[in-house]
């Protein structure tokens, strides 16, 4: 080879050994120690308890001493009607949620955007986002009180000459109540991201549309919505990643014994069977593990899809 084909830059040769680099970074190991300890003690230690899913728990032998039963607990999931119903409910509720609840924040953001930025708009936003900061324990009390037989909504019905309806214990009304109260609680918070996205849409596109004779609604449909399409899709994808969750906090606080057949999700089911006197710890751990694994798979799919869309995933840059 002629000397002109060699690169002009001298390639650096690594002299630093692994051990040297470790010694150089000793303070860094120290600084991540507390956080890693927390992770290990509170996230990784419990993972050893997962072995219960493959065992028949015996209180006297403890977790480590109980006998292995392989996949028996998992097989049992699919022959237990209550468990199967919980899985079906979870999927039904989650997908309904995704379909129904993603629209209001977008609609609200679009409407809010029409109001000039000022005290009025900020005041509205303050009211809208307030319920997001309360826990479902609080909001469930407010919702239940309002929808109870003698509560506000029913009083309104009386005024309009309608009969009272028992919303809370009705199987037909429970899920709509679920979706509506979640929209009521969370859509204000959701508008924050959408408002920012709407503000980021190129104003010249609106001018162009206006010149072409589009009115405000046409502009919204043809300029705004396509402009925030990416954010909408990301949110939907993230929603799919959370399908196995279906809103434990909300359902736990709103449900009662008359509506269990439509409200029982995997998490509430696990709670019910775990903290009873005759609980089979192996079985309930198995249900939980089943859910966690599917959840993890869904998150991977969601992350992959988001990466495809954005160029970066949800967990890494």
């Amino acid at each position: 080879m002629s000397k002109f084909s060699k690169p002009a830059v001298v390639k650096p040769i690594r002299h630093t050994s692994l051990w040297t680099r470790i010694k150089q970074s000793k303070y860094l190991y120290l600084i991540i120690l507390p956080g890693m300890l927390q992770l290990i003690v509170f996230s990784y230690f419990p993972m050893t308890g997962i072995q219960l899913a493959f065992k028949k728990y015996n209180a006297t032998h403890g977790i480590w001493g109980s006998t292995w039963v392989g996949l028996k607990n998992f097989r049992r999931i699919f022959i237990t009607p209550a468990a199967v119903k919980a899985i079906i409910n979870t999927l039904e509720i989650s997908f309904s949620r995704i379909a129904i609840e993603f629209i209001p924040p977008i609609a609200l953001a679009i409407l809010l955007n029409e109001i000039p930025d000022g005290r009025f708009r900020k005041g509205l936003q303050t009211i809208y986002t307030f319920p997001h900061f309360l826990s479902w324990v609080i909001v469930a009390v407010v919702v239940k009180n309002f929808f109870t037989y003698s509560g506000g909504i029913n009083e309104l019905r009386i005024i309009f000459g309608l009969d009272r309806v028992n919303y809370l214990s009705s199987k037909d009304f429970f899920r709509p109540l679920l979706y509506f109260s979640d929209i009521w609680k969370e859509s204000g918070w959701g508008t924050i991201i959408y408002l920012a996205a709407i503000a980021a849409v190129d104003p010249t596109l609106y001018e162009a549309a206006q010149i072409d004779g589009a009115n405000r609604w046409q502009q919204t449909w043809h300029v705004t919505l396509p402009g925030i399409k990416e954010i909408i899709i990301i949110n939907l994808i993230l929603g799919i990643g959370g399908v196995m969750n279906a809103g434990f906090d909300q359902i736990f606080n709103l449900t009662n014994s008359s509506v269990t057949s439509v409200s029982q999700i995997i998490d509430t089911y696990v709670y019910d069977i775990t903290f009873k006197a005759t609980a089979d710890y192996g079985f309930s751990t198995a249900v939980g593990l089943f859910k966690s694994v599917i959840n993890m798979l869904l998150l991977f799919v969601a992350n992959f899809a988001a990466k495809h869309m954005l160029g970066s995933g949800i967990f890494s840059r």
Binding site: R21, I22, S25, Y27, L28, Y29, I31, I32, G35, M36, Q38, L39, V41, F42, S43, Y44, F45, P46, M47, T48, G49, I50, L52, L108, L111, L112, E114, I115, T126, I127, Y128, F133, S135, V141, V142, N145, F146, G151, G152, E155, L156, W184, I193, A196, Q210, N215, R216, F252, D267, V270, Y271, T274, Y281, S284, T285, G288, K291, S292, M296, S316
Partner: protein, 299 residues
């Protein structure tokens, strides 16, 4: 309706805008009214409620329910417990988060491994029972420490902070190194102060999370004196475990006894639980919004 561009130049609002404003106002009322309803009930007496169950207009300022609540005790204590959990929890969380974030922002052997360990916990966990049994074997059942520690690390926050550290200007760090500062001083005096808006936002979110935590608190803490206010509220409104229900003990003065009613007491408890959030929230709202946007952008 066509929006006349000329009209927009003037300050006058179009008919469309007014309709939209009215609709938004209506939605604002829809949010406001159920809370108002609860507040009004809390200030009613039993007889007032029985005649006016709609309870949208206050009929007086009856504080009987509140008297009963305060006399029954446990309220102030729960506030204290929540405050302890929130303050200690947020402090721990900020500590762990910033330290991990800073560490992960620097290259060192094993960084990828440890970072992946953290990532893994973000989408897989032991589950309800193993987590509970773990707390049991750590001897943390029945303590507030369990709650403080178990929620003290959020992978999302670490990632956001890590990105923030990585984006901070190198020159400041190098200048400090030249001045002779060691790694710890660089961290504390130079880099951390740069992150204060981020810290404020993350701290706020963490604090709200701790404030609202009720599930594990109700599972882990069984002593009445240690319950945070979220669980106190749950107990107050669930008929099964009401400790202030006057089926048993009556905490009101004799004249008050006939004015007080269960729903009123529940609503009074609710107001107490919401009060701190209602007072603090409007002032902090912009930090929350900013935090959400920064977090979203960084992702």
């Amino acid at each position: 309706m066509q929006n006349n561009p000329k009209k927009q130049k003037k300050k006058r609002h179009s008919g469309q805008q007014i309709i939209i404003a009215l609709f938004l106002l209506l939605w604002g009322c829809a949010i406001f009214i159920p809370f108002w309803n609860a507040i009004v009930i809390s200030f009613m007496s039993k007889s007032q409620y029985n005649t006016h169950t709609a309870a949208l207009i206050p009929y007086g300022f009856n504080i009987g329910n509140y008297e009963h609540l305060i006399n029954a005790g446990g309220l102030l204590n729960s506030y204290l417990n929540t405050a302890i959990i929130v303050i200690c929890g947020t402090a721990c969380s900020l500590l762990f988060t910033t330290m991990l974030a800073y560490g992960f922002s620097k290259p060192f052997p094993g960084r990828k491994l440890f970072f992946s360990m953290m990532l893994f916990t973000m989408f897989f966990g032991g589950g309800m029972l193993p987590t509970y049994l773990n707390l049991k074997s750590l001897g943390l059942l029945g303590t507030r420490t369990a709650i403080i520690l178990m929620f003290s690390l959020s992978g999302f926050h670490v990632i956001i902070m890590k990105n923030s550290f990585e984006n901070s200007p190198r020159e400041m760090e190098e200048a400090a190194k030249i001045d002779g500062a060691n790694d710890l001083m660089i961290f504390l005096r130079v880099l951390l102060p740069l992150q204060s808006p981020m810290l404020a936002a993350i701290g706020l979110f963490t604090a709200v999370g701790y404030w609202n935590e009720w599930f594990w608190s109700s599972l882990v803490i069984n002593k009445m004196e240690l319950l945070p206010i979220s669980v106190f509220l749950r107990n107050a409104v669930s008929s099964a475990t009401t400790q202030i229900n006057f089926g048993g003990v009556n905490f009101s003065s004799p004249e008050n006894q006939k004015n007080v009613f269960t729903l009123g007491i529940s609503m009074a408890t609710l107001v107490f639980t919401m009060l701190p959030v209602m007072c603090v929230y409007p002032f902090l709202q912009k930090y929350f919004a900013k935090g959400v946007l920064t977090g979203a952008v960084k992702m």
